[in-house]
Amino acid sequence: MQTNKLFDFMASCVMIALGIYVFFAGVAINKDVGGIYYDGPGFLPIILGVALTGCSLLLLFASLKDGGLDARMAEMRVWGREKAHSKDTAISLIGMAIMFIYSFVLFKLLPFWISSFIFLVGIMAYLKATRLLRGLLISACTVAVIVVFFQVGFRVQLP
């Protein structure tokens, strides 16, 4: 399987869609503002949209060499199946989900020291980084050091 070509193919498809969106968004911005075209805030986005689409098209054509679209689609199916059954993918995704919960939910709702303690204990336990008791101790020490360093030492207000 030509993973590089497959990734180039997938990336270029996304970039082409993004480039087209940016181009039309730039046109809409300039239309909204009115006045001279090159003075409008949408002028550079229009240029960037064209450049992104152009570069991505070249990348797409290069990625379709050796087998064409059919080969890439077949590779994508194989790659998708492989990734779906990969243990590493599952570990990374769950790890990221824990990071997401910490960054988007816990950090906003709870005081810093509680949210960080929960996050550290949770992720170390999930990754089986160390024994639970040691994990609890490391997490508590880490949070204490950070709070003392920033809040007490440098008077930086943590949430």
């Binding site: 949408g42 550079l44 990348l59 570990i91 960080s116 992720i123 160390t130 949430p159």
Partner: protein
């Protein structure tokens, strides 16, 4: 006047608190450099956020200290583990690891650390001489030149960091420019790509983008990494090491010059400096076959080259406000955050700044030398730290770093989102450095292009009448033509009946 500034900067370094900051930051940089997966860019990005509330002097000392420490620290894991602690030390591993396998780990580390310090010190001379020159040259720049400089910087960075596929580097740069377009534009105050979100209207902060792009992928990657076997540290004799450095003085000077030259090129990092210096020594050697098998000249060249890049990369930051490497891009953001305005007017507005940075670099290099040799005995222990414990702690620091900029949860969420972007870029082998450069140079490109077009009533003729612009245009056109294979296509088409 210059001497006065340098003496004042030296005196400030010797203030007890600043000295402590210098030692701690350099030590932190060394440890982050030693640990594979924690890059210099990540270290500076993290510290930029964390030092936001610091007074300017200690903050600058901390940033310079961690920069020098992180670039130099990478050599220890390259030698003991065959895995460079930072990409900058990739070339060092080629000869350093075979030396360690021969039982010369201590000698290799001593050589690497000593020439690292020498490389940084050499680059300081270039910072002091070239920055004022380049700054006075940049005073001739108008809006057209600044716009083309931004485009040139992103394109050359894209070309040199793309690992063979230049389109990916350019796509990365364009994506960065697009991120810079988010928020109120500088001319009409029109909220672009904000979707009615008040936070987006004020634009995306640079620090969360940097921490996300460079820190997040390393953290996620560590979840599934297996730790490699570390070789044991051996003792070394300083006298032998100094003799070897003296014997290879020409290679040291050549590598330092290459390093500074590479550093000045926008966006091209310390890794390229190390590789090019290594290549220059190998190709000029009478025994090129010995390289890769434990030739100490390989270690000397690579480490001098990558550390000389530090000063080289800072030169365009201060004179043109265009970063010479990814860590320097973060440093530029830090300078801006602390109220300095690098660029052509720097020598007029804050003339002491260049001398301050040069002196901080000198002391950081000296501190690095002592500390790196001091902790060399413990490198094996540092390398043995469990990444699955360390990386979650680093993530907590990333979150604080992103939060402290505005004391806003939104920046933490942005850091996470750009972390996912960084992960996707890495998966598709798209370099992150041009992306970051695009985010930094985007506002400069946008405002200068529009200002220039307004002044010229939409005409491109004034641009073509300016010699510096013509040079930029020729180089940009040459890059597009040579890198996209257009000559081959034309040849192919011409060959057809």
């Amino acid at each position: 006047m210059a001497l006065e500034y340098m003496l004042a900067a030296t005196a400030s370094v010797f203030q007890p608190f600043n000295l402590l900051v210098l030692i701690l930051a350099t030590l932190a940089g060394l440890i982050m450099g030693i640990l594979p997966g924690l890059s210099a860019t990540m270290a500076i990005a993290l510290l930029t956020g964390l030092t936001y509330g610091f007074p300017t002097g200690p903050a600058l000392i901390a940033l310079i200290g961690i920069y020098v420490g992180a670039i130099s620290g990478g050599c220890q894991s390259a030698i003991l583990l065959n895995i460079p602690g930072t990409p900058a030390s990739a070339a060092t591993a080629l000869d350093g690891f075979p030396m360690a396998k021969r039982g010369e780990a201590g000698h290799a580390i001593f050589l690497a650390v000593t020439v690292s310090a020498l490389g940084t010190l050499f680059s300081v001379i270039c910072v002091l001489t070239l920055t004022p020159l380049l700054t006075s040259f940049a005073l001739k720049f108008t809006s057209w030149e600044f716009f083309l400089l931004a485009i040139f910087g992103i394109m050359i960075c894209g070309s040199l960091t793309s690992n063979g596929n230049v389109l990916k580097g350019w796509i990365s740069g364009i994506l960065g420019l697009l991120v810079a377009m988010i928020g109120m534009d500088t001319v009409n105050a029109y909220p672009r790509f904000s979707f009615g979100n008040v936070n987006l209207m004020s634009g995306i902060q640079l620090i969360p983008v940097m921490i996300g792009l460079f820190g997040f992928p390393e953290i996620v990657q560590s979840f599934t990494q297996v730790d490699a076997k570390v070789l044991q540290m051996t003792s070394f004799r300083m006298k032998d090491g100094f003799r070897k450095v003296r014997k290879n003085w020409f290679a040291v000077v050549r590598s330092a010059l290459i390093g500074v030259g590479v550093g000045i090129i926008p966006g091209v990092g310390e890794d390229v400096g190390g590789w090019l210096s290594y290549w220059a020594s190998k190709s000029s050697s009478k025994d090129p076959d010995s390289f890769g098998k434990g030739n100490e000249l390989g270690v000397i060249s690579a480490e001098t080259g990558n550390n000389a890049c530090i000063g080289g990369a800072i030169i365009p930051v201060m004179s043109l406000a265009v970063p010479g490497s990814a860590p320097a891009a973060v440093l530029l953001a830090a300078f801006l955050m602390h109220g300095y305005r690098p660029g052509p007017l720097l020598m007029t507005e804050s003339p002491q700044f260049v001398y301050q940075i040069a002196i901080y670099l000198v002391f950081a290099a000296l501190a690095m030398w002592f500390l790196a040799l001091g902790i060399a005995k413990f490198s094996v222990k540092i390398l043995g730290i469990n990444k699955k414990i360390l990386m979650p702690i680093i993530y907590v620091l990333c979150v604080i770093g992103a939060f402290l900029i505005n004391h806003n949860d939104f920046d933490v969420r942005m850091m996470f989102i750009f972390g996912i972007v960084g992960l996707l870029l890495r998966a598709t082998s798209i370099p992150s450095a041009p992306f970051l450069l695009g985010v930094i140079l985007g506002p400069m490109a946008d405002s200068n292009l529009r200002r220039a077009l307004i002044i010229s009533n939409g005409s491109l003729t004034p641009m073509l009448a300016r010699p510096i612009c013509v040079v930029f245009l020729i180089v940009i056109a040459f890059m597009i033509i040579s890198q996209t294979g257009l000559p081959r296509l034309i040849k192919k088409l011409a060959g057809r009946p």
